[in-house]
Symmetry: C2
Subunit: 459 residues, 2 copies
């Protein structure tokens, strides 16, 4: 019989991997809660009518579709079949699909439950999503997203708080990051300013590569994509903008002074940066990580309408590990227009890799039980069970090896699991009523009462 | 545009529902960890070859199948189609399905990762499962299972620990329960004893109804199902067994003395009950809930081979809220025979209903932020953001209302969310550097410094 396996692009998570993932998820969850965001969950399956057309043509193809239960061929005519594997046939065979992200289900949730929701609605969601992407290194067909969004408030204080959340999460995780901020309105302003509002996608795509390919290549790409020489010329000042956030803001403000939208974008970013700067706690800026205005940052162009964020790890080359931004029409697709929102999403898989590479997991985050009782036989094991029960009542995670196996096997079990202490209750200990506690790190053995053992292990 | 909806049998979970569910899941998770069980996760999608044939013919039909990506009609001949909606065609259209329970994926996991696992392997798993069942009250197409299993150990100490886990979880949740125990070998022994080993299913199904339908009807049902009058006669002593666990054990031991398997079952139950009884902590039995030998308890007959457990709430009529047992051949279906295991599964949805009905959720389990700062305008909000940041650094969940909306609207937000305190920083407070803290329960307002506010809220 061949070994069973799992579908490509999916993963099993072992106890050690789960402990590490939980450490990340719990950190994010705790910080979200600290800011008053509240968790919701939506079903893994959504109606395909909810999902289709929301992620572009390519996205539709990447949706996992669920075969209708029962007689799924009913109502399907020979002509449907003769067309071959069309999306049309898939739509007849399948009414439901697996969620592709957390954003569309959230929009659906808000519209469906609009009458029950108190606005502004601050929600977070930590759930897996599924995409029928070609699996490759670091890209999976099932992965978790960790989103927080607030809808029903235009206030830029929400942007400020989300940046604080990002800062707090990475500070708690011990990852040094740089938080990049830009504003979709600034990008629009640039395109307007150079007289080519229709070329915003081409312009932002090109300038986004500035660091990598240099000014000349950016200009060549712009020209290739139909941006006129005159427009490229008018964009020139952008390439000269440098310095700290304030200098950059002043420069871009001057450049976009003729454009209303662009000026609005500059003002929004200025407000967010100034508010963050003013948040002094005990005389110190409350932010541990640097926030950088990055005028070339572009993401979610079809989607974001205001501030956009992106986070990069400083000590590992891995691309963006968190992103987000403001959108003005999330729920419009479901018939509820005019609801503004802003959100962020932590990239759990990449954060996992960063923590692994930098070896930043705290020991107690990945540890199972704190003590293993060796099993010396029926009477000794009964006593061990009793002491273990007392330890657990004191909040100490304790295991009793269930079988009276060879000592070597039991010690090897403790070693493999990384249990920090082993407790021995043999014949002698039974008589004297003590426990021999072995520190697995130092090898040191001490004879302790149950009370002393509890004290030692709660240290 | 019609309101969007979700597939029938699935659910959205609101913030309050999620908080309650997390309270349950965290309680179970904490107790599992306290006993050294470690969490794993498996993918939502499994290969259909892993799932098919594991849940009986009916189960196969209830699997959600995922349409192959890309050209799913490739290789499907007209003759495949002319057969109509056969399982054969579904198998060609779909390679993957959604997991139906956590047990088969766990078995698959153990076999697939056998070389990496340290035995005994104690794992827990909290994940959703999907079944294309007809939805009805209390039965969903997506629901969570909360399983713990240990494989690779025959020791009955595992049974003892799992019962302790059940007892601890329900004690922590505040639900009074009765834990029922029986043993599959006792049921086999009964069938052997009356000379009808082939009728074990009919016998156990009938006697399971003893409480509901009475002795005469049980006997009639047995006769209807082909159990001979002589055999029914030999079963008679079972109906007379009563009293405490020890009396029942003595009686069933006597009745099954002629049967080796049955006697083994009695011994197993006796060991588990005696060990539990011997676990005195500070002179008291460590179990808070009663454990009852229930000789008519039958569950998972095709599956369990030793002790079986079932838990019933004492104060709510709702059926079994937790169950489990020992199996001897979980991984045999995947080519790894001879691995014994024992496990339990908490019914989260029913536990949720019980806690709701008895109103047992602790206040802090369902609460969001602890304090809301009223937004009186830009300058005041900036100060509020600063104080909120300090509160959060002290671990207090705090919200700042993002918009300078009407006071009434902001207070209504605080009320709806059940925020226990509201903090007011208006013009006066700005000048004097204090915070007016309003207790939403009593209506009492106090003027406090930031330090005093932190003290008040961490009480």
């Amino acid at each position: 019989m061949t070994k069973p396996s799992i579908p490509k692009g999916t993963r099993d998570f072992s106890p050690v991997e789960m402990a590490k993932r939980n450490y990340i998820f719990n950190t994010i969850r705790d910080v979200y809660a600290l800011y008053g965001y509240r968790q919701i969950e939506t079903p893994a399956m959504e109606n395909l009518s909810t999902l289709m057309g929301k992620y572009g043509e390519e996205g539709d193809k990447l949706l996992f579709k669920i075969l209708n239960s029962g007689d799924f061929m009913r109502g399907i005519s020979p002509s449907d079949l003769s067309e071959g594997a069309s999306g049309h046939l898939a739509a007849q065979l399948c009414e439901k699909g697996l969620r592709y992200d957390l954003t569309v289900p959230f929009a659906r949730y808000v519209v469906q439950h609009r009458d029950e929701l108190q606005m502004p609605f601050k929600r977070y969601q930590l759930q897996p999503v599924w995409r029928a992407d070609r699996p490759q290194k670091g890209r999976y067909r099932e992965f978790y997203q960790c989103d927080a969004d607030v809808v029903g408030s235009d206030s830029l204080l929400n942007e400020v708080e989300l940046i604080q959340i990002i800062d707090t999460v990475f500070t708690r995780l011990g990852i040094r990051v740089s938080i990049h901020i830009n504003n979709r309105k600034i990008l629009t302003g640039m395109a307007n300013h150079i007289g080519q509002p229709d070329k915003i996608v081409e312009i932002t795509t090109a300038i986004d590569k500035l660091d990598k390919i240099g000014i000349d290549n950016v200009k060549a790409e712009l020209a290739d994509n139909g941006v006129t020489p005159e427009a490229i010329n008018r964009l020139q000042p952008l390439f000269q903008i440098s310095g700290d956030n304030d200098s950059q803001l002043a420069a871009i403000a001057a450049m976009l002074a003729d454009d209303e939208v662009g000026t609005k974008g500059v003002e929004e970013v200025r407000f967010v940066l100034n508010t963050l700067k003013s948040l002094m706690v005990n005389g110190q800026c409350s932010m541990a990580n640097e926030i950088t205005l990055d005028l070339t940052l572009a993401r979610g162009l079809n989607y974001y309408t205001g501030c956009i964020f992106e986070v990069k790890a400083l000590d590992v080359q891995i691309g963006s590990i968190t992103g987000g931004g403001r959108y003005d029409n999330l729920t419009g697709i479901f018939g509820m227009p005019g609801l503004s929102g802003v959100g962020i999403s932590f990239g759990a898989d990449r954060i996992y890799d960063v923590l692994n590479q930098l070896d930043l997991y705290p020991t107690n985050a990945v540890q199972g039980a704190q003590v293993l009782f060796i099993n010396f036989g029926e009477a000794e094991a009964a006593r061990a069970m009793q002491v273990a029960t007392q330890l657990r009542q004191a909040g100490i995670a304790a295991e009793v090896y269930p079988d009276a196996a060879k000592m070597k096997k039991q010690m090897s079990y403790a070693n493999t699991l990384g249990v920090p202490y082993v407790a021995l209750i043999g014949e002698t200990e039974m008589q004297t009523g003590v426990i021999t506690l072995k520190d697995m790190q130092t090898g040191e053995q001490t004879q302790l009462t149950t009370e002393q053992t509890i004290q030692q292990l709660t240290k």
